[in-house]
Amino acid sequence: MSAPLSLRITGIGAWAPGAPDWQRLRVILRGDSTPDDDAPARPAGTILPAAERRRAPDGVRLAAEVAAQATGMAGIDPATVPCIFASTQGELAITDYVCDTLARSPLELSPTKFHNSVLNAPAGYWTIATGCTAASSAVTAHHRSFAAGLLEAAVFACAEDTPVLFASCDVASTGPLAEMTHTTLAFGMAMLLHPNASNGARLNLVLHGGTAEPVPVVTMATVTRDNPANAEALALLSLLARANPSNLRLPLSSGLSLDMEIKP
């Protein structure tokens, strides 16, 4: 087996219903607070210019929000930071709109909604809003999207010796498609992964030969139930919210799992 991928997490962003940023989610995950019923129902996404924000679908606002939180906390200019956006299903409400329109009156398909339907819409809007000319990517691996996306981001950071922005976001599904995706609640998180920073939590990743059981999460159980795609992201955030070193093993493929050592 190869040497661990050794990184520092210098910035974290998060958004969940009732927890509009990482500070808020962190105290909830520590058990010191509960979700705020008065929090805004949609992510602010204020890094997007007003005109873009109006046109942007929910998944783009969510991704832009958590990405801006993470780069803001890291104190890094996003313009030169490669970014990798993971999502299990992409822009579910747009997929529902596109398929519904194609079934009824295909010639009425909206061009804006069509280009917003691509899985790399968040990467596109983010790079445009931040002037980022570095590599950007959109990745998915169904139930393994978080672990596989995190591995892709960590590999990029270590191989190219550069900080990398990683985000994992899924929005609620609508229409008949919802029965196939089981995602009824939006959740997003982002991390700035740095291969040679001296601050931030340590994250060491290795591939483990063997499968892993899905991880149980006790706090914010609604996210695990209603956005199962990001249950594993929440599991990592739960560990990062606490002060003690810990380990996490996530299923990655039919024969591998991703082992994480976390030292906050």
């Binding site: 190869s2 040497a3 490669p82 299990t88 299903q89 992409g90 997929t95 398929c99 194609l102 079934a103 295909p106 010639l107 398909l109 909206s110 061009p111 069509f114 280009h115 917003n116 339907s117 691509v118 899985l119 790399n120 819409a121 990467a123 596109g124 809007y125 790079t127 445009i128 002037g131 980022c132 000319t133 570095a134 590599a135 950007s136 990517s137 959109a138 990745v139 998915t140 691996a141 169904h142 596989a148 996306g149 591995l151 892709e152 590999v155 990029f156 191989a159 190219e160 008949p176 498609l177 029965e179 196939m180 995706t181 089981h182 591939l207 030969g209 493929s253 039919s254 024969g255 591998l256």
Partner: protein
């Protein structure tokens, strides 16, 4: 600046497109200058345009244990995997390296969305019809999950979906995994199939030509949409020293517009620069460029601005006049066509262009020709300003 990388062998590769099934069919069509575009006969009320449709996809039957993956995109993926001894080559890599040491990274833009569209046309009291209540095909990872099951690859598996650069970027991601020792081999590739989303979607953006597309022609007026499956097996050079090689890759973002390229090709230029640096070569070493060349007004205008850095002897062509724009499969398909240029000493012509844009005319190969090709580039640019450039080179003499 990036550092030079260790080349990787393309131990096996294959392509299936409107030109036919497998490498021999692609090669024959390129040599003869015979394109595969035909009148659109896809969807219930077909738009007036030409498409690059793969013959025989409808007749593909997946083996019983894989039947729950059935949909047009996975059928095309299966058809593509059966060509040119690919399954045997993959089995060989698994035997040499171990199943968990082989990675799988595939690009697709729409994956099996055609099946989701079909479900919406046949809703049963507001629910998907029973035969399509299969969550594993209504997700963008459908293709890669299917291919993992079909091949037995058990290493890291990932779908990259960055529109039309998707299956070019898979080469870069695989190279990084192998460079860091997290895999010893990788199957990369891309599959995208015709579906209403892309036919009506690109039509809504007024980007689809009514004619067969005319890349780099002064009269070009849009794309022709196609479908394809293309794969490449990447392994260390010592495993297949005579095989052609991946020499370099570059990726960038335009930071400009969701559906229009940067007017000066800023991102495309950066991807090209990085790819050449990683390959450790200068632009003067490039013999052939497989251009992105979609035949939209903007793409070709911007891409032509990249050409003056190349020597007048460098030949360049878009092969989309042959296959149509195969979207998420285009990166891998055109990488394989660039590899054919190296292995067989051919320059694919820029089919469909009779009146070349002056800015590109010096480099465009308008007719098929035979010529030694040691270094070939392939450009891929996607929605959201997502750019990738690949550099391929010759292996050791046999």
């Amino acid at each position: 600046m990036p550092e030079r990388i260790e080349p990787l062998a393309i131990a096996a590769c294959s392509a299936t497109s409107a030109l036919g099934h497998g490498l021999a069919a692609q090669l024959e069509a390129l040599r003869r200058g015979r394109g595969g575009l035909r009148p659109n006969d896809f969807s219930q009320a077909p738009l007036e345009c030409r498409i690059g449709r793969v013959a025989g996809v409808e007749d593909v039957a997946l083996p019983a244990p894989l039947a729950h993956w059935d949909c047009r995109n996975n059928r095309l993926g299966w058809l593509g995997l059966q060509q040119d001894g690919l399954m045997d080559a993959i089995a060989g890599a698994i035997e040499r390296q171990g199943a968990t040491r082989v990675a799988l990274i595939l690009g697709t833009s729409t994956a099996s969305i055609g099946a989701t569209e079909d479900a919406y046309r046949r809703l049963d009291h507001g629910r998907f019809p029973e035969d399509l209540r299969r969550p594993e095909i209504h997700t963008p990872h459908s293709l890669a999950a299917f291919v993992a099951n079909a091949t037995g690859i058990a290493g890291p598996a990932l779908t990259i979906s960055t529109a039309c650069s998707s299956s070019a970027k898979v080469f870069a991601s695989a190279e990084r995994l192998i460079r860091l020792g997290l895999a010893d081999a990788a199957l990369v590739g891309g599959v995208d199939t015709l579906c209403d989303s892309v036919l009506f979607g690109f039509h809504s953006l007024e980007l689809v030509s009514k004619h067969a597309c005319r890349p780099f022609d002064a009269q070009r007026d849009g794309i022709s949409i196609g479908e394809a499956a293309a794969f490449a097996l990447l392994e260390p050079v010592q495993v297949a020293p005579n095989a052609p090689r991946l020499l370099g890759h570059g990726e960038s973002s335009d930071a400009h517009h969701m559906s229009t390229p940067h007017p000066e090709g800023r991102g495309a230029r950066a991807a090209l620069d990085d790819a050449l640096v990683r390959a450790g070569i200068g632009a003067d070493a490039v013999d052939y460029i497989n251009l992105h060349g979609t035949a939209t007004l903007k793409n070709d205008e911007v891409e032509a601005k990249l050409l003056p850095r190349f020597a007048p002897r460098t030949r360049a062509s878009s092969t989309k006049g042959f296959t149509g724009h195969t979207l998420g499969a285009a990166g891998a398909l055109e990488a394989v066509l660039a590899l054919l240029a190296i292995v067989h000493g051919i320059v694919p012509p820029n089919l469909g262009c009779s009146e070349p844009m002056p800015a590109a005319a010096l480099w465009l190969a308008l007719r098929p020709s035979s010529q030694r090709v040691d270094v070939a580039l392939s450009n891929s640019f996607g929605f959201g300003g997502n750019n990738a450039c690949l550099v391929f080179g010759r292996g050791d003499p046999a």
